[in-house]
């Protein structure tokens, strides 16, 4: 098990009013993502608990890419990972952001 | 394989201690049924002896005896004596609905207890998995004699499933009671309420269990007190509070 933590500044807040959302399931090759709107509108924190050690750089890149694309300002994103591939991680993050953007 | 039509030495000793004036408890195919004089009335007995696996016929027979006691009324307590294997593992048992037979036996015990027949489990040997749930764990109070050795799964099997080395599991088992086999660990989770004292008369100890049996399920509270299940009681209580609207929940 490995814990990773990333802190990003965003240009804007993520739109929408939903306070929290969850997507995905902890299973082999899958992950769950919990999103909570509880930070300043220009901050995004991502906390990861992963079953597979040694992929910190890959996680950093996937998270940075997500933050750059979606500008998820205001969110704490907490991830329980069962060993998902980067494309699955990106998909779940995008799903989570979409849920939070719902009016 | 022990002779399955006579009680094992341990069971015979338990019956002799409980019923000094004799009893009508019989053993057939490892299944224990009958009763004997106890205090002012009678004590009904069902059970499993000699590490016997519990299959569909056994569960059906024992449930029938429990329902006989419930039908007769009168508050006769029921003692469930257990030295069993796990549930019988076979294609035929599952084909015919083993889950229904085991659940039916547990329900019979739960119903009898609710109708005023205190159910007391006494673990004096092994028990595991579905057989344990359907018998000993379906009683109001579960006691054990020293030397009893319940398990959900033995460590080599746990090692196979979890793919962890056996030596590591053995080391973990010494400090973590939540997964490790054995009586002490089942006491810590609250599943086994009390270990009896073999130096004291058994009948008096069983009579005390009947007299002092808690009316509600206190196993999770015991598990918290004893440290074997640190969170279960609080989690259940929290769900109750939220369901009953006694807290204002956050988002």
């Amino acid at each position: 098990m490995e814990k990773l933590s990333f802190r990003h500044a965003t240009r804007t807040a993520l739109p929408g009013t939903r306070a929290s959302a969850i997507t995905g399931v902890v299973a082999s090759g899958n992950l769950e993502v919990l999103l909570e709107r509880n930070l300043a509108p220009d901050a995004c924190h991502v906390e990861i608990d992963t079953a597979i050690n040694g992929y910190g750089e890959v996680w950093a890149a996937v998270v940075a890419d997500f933050v750059a694309r979606r500008q998820p300002g205001g969110l704490t994103i907490t991830i329980n990972d069962g060993g998902a591939r980067p494309d699955t991680v990106s998909l779940r993050l995008a799903q989570g952001a979409r849920l939070m953007e719902a009016p | 394989m022990p002779d399955e039509t006579t009680p094992s030495a341990r069971l015979a000793a338990i019956l002799a201690a409980l019923f000094p004036d004799g009893h009508a408890v019989a053993v057939a195919d490892g299944l224990v049924t009958g009763d004997g004089p106890f205090g002012e009335g009678r004590l009904a007995v069902i059970g499993i002896d000699s590490d016997t696996a519990l299959g569909i016929e056994g569960a059906c027979l024992l449930a029938g005896r429990v329902l006989d006691v419930a039908r007769a009324g009168g508050g006769t307590p029921i003692l469930v004596l257990v030295d069993s294997d796990s549930q019988r593992m076979s294609r035929r048992d599952e084909l015919l609905g083993l889950n229904e037979y085991l659940a039916h036996l547990a329900k019979a015990l739960l119903l009898a207890d609710a109708q005023g027949h205190p159910t007391i489990g006494l673990l004096y040997g092994h028990s595991a998995a579905g057989a344990f749930i359907a018998t000993a764990l379906a009683t109001r109070v579960l006691a054990a004699l020293p030397g009893a050795h319940p398990s959900v799964m033995d460590l080599p099997s746990v090692a196979r499933v979890t793919k962890l080395p056996l030596e590591k599991l053995e080391a973990m088992a010494r400090s973590t009671s939540v997964f490790a086999p054995g009586l002490d660990n089942m006491v810590r989770t609250g599943a086994v309420q009390v270990t009896l004292d073999p130096a004291k008369p058994l009948g008096a100890q069983v009579a005390a269990l009947i007299a002092e049996a808690p009316t509600s399920d206190t196993r999770d509270a015991l598990g918290r007190e004893r440290g074997g299940r640190p969170l279960a009681h609080d989690i259940a209580a929290r769900v109750m509070r939220e369901a009953e609207g006694r807290v204002v929940r956050g988002v």
Partner: protein
Amino acid sequence: MDWKPVALSTAPLDQSWYEASARARLAGLLDADTFEEFIGPAQRMMSPHLPLFELPRAFDDGMIVGRGRLDGRDVLVAAQEGRFMGGAFGEIHGAKLVGLLRAALAVKPAALLILFDTGGVRLQEANAGETAIAEIMRAIAVTRAAGIPVIGLIGGRAGCYGGGGLIAGTCAHLVISEGGRLSVSGPEVIETNRGAEEFDSRDRALVWRTMGGKHRRLIGAADAFVDDTIGAFRAAALAAIPTAPTFDLASLEAEQARLEARLARFGDAQDATEIWGRLGVNDPAAVPGLTTEAFDTLLDSLPERPHHAR
């Protein structure tokens, strides 16, 4: 069995129960937007034990409990996520259902629904899981005796095995689909303990006709057989509420008679098809391929209807 997409529709009620997550099942089963979770994921009540085994945790520990409405009626619900740790019962997972059942006495819902999806006890927390199962069964008996129907829905990936099978057998009413498998020891467990001659777990057709939904419905272990859609489970759960038997001596006496009769009639059967033949099914070999509609027609045509005292 092959799992065809049930419909090209995107409507929640048309989605496959088997493929859906526990949360999606709840969202579709209940009236829209009525589900309210107790100890939701944001509370992060996760297993304290899994990290010892280097295993990832889930925010809800694989058990989602809460309340909602079913066709306007207040119900309490519990759903297992079969993809997390095989839906197995651990300390928190089990305690959430214990608490929900205990709460039912005060809340007095129209029903309490359990969406099973479980391999049994979580070995990493075996003693806590096993004890929780016993607590759940006792709480179900108390809840049913108070007149609250406890209804089980079985159609998930993990099936309903081990202690889950015993809990299911304690419910007042069971709804099962083709994908639902209900038993105590799973095929792999029997094969590991007794060999492939006893049970070849790779023979999927054998697994399905020994433990699957149609067989369980035919012998009376389940009360309703439904299509693998969220809508079908919803309709069957609704229909079950007024019919669920209470928990009393009469119910258990009737179940005793039912189970004794089964032993006497089918105790020597070698295979499910033999049992189906004796029940009056003309072409037992065709049963696994029947649609739900054809299967219901078959049930109606049998000389005796299964009776469901439980």
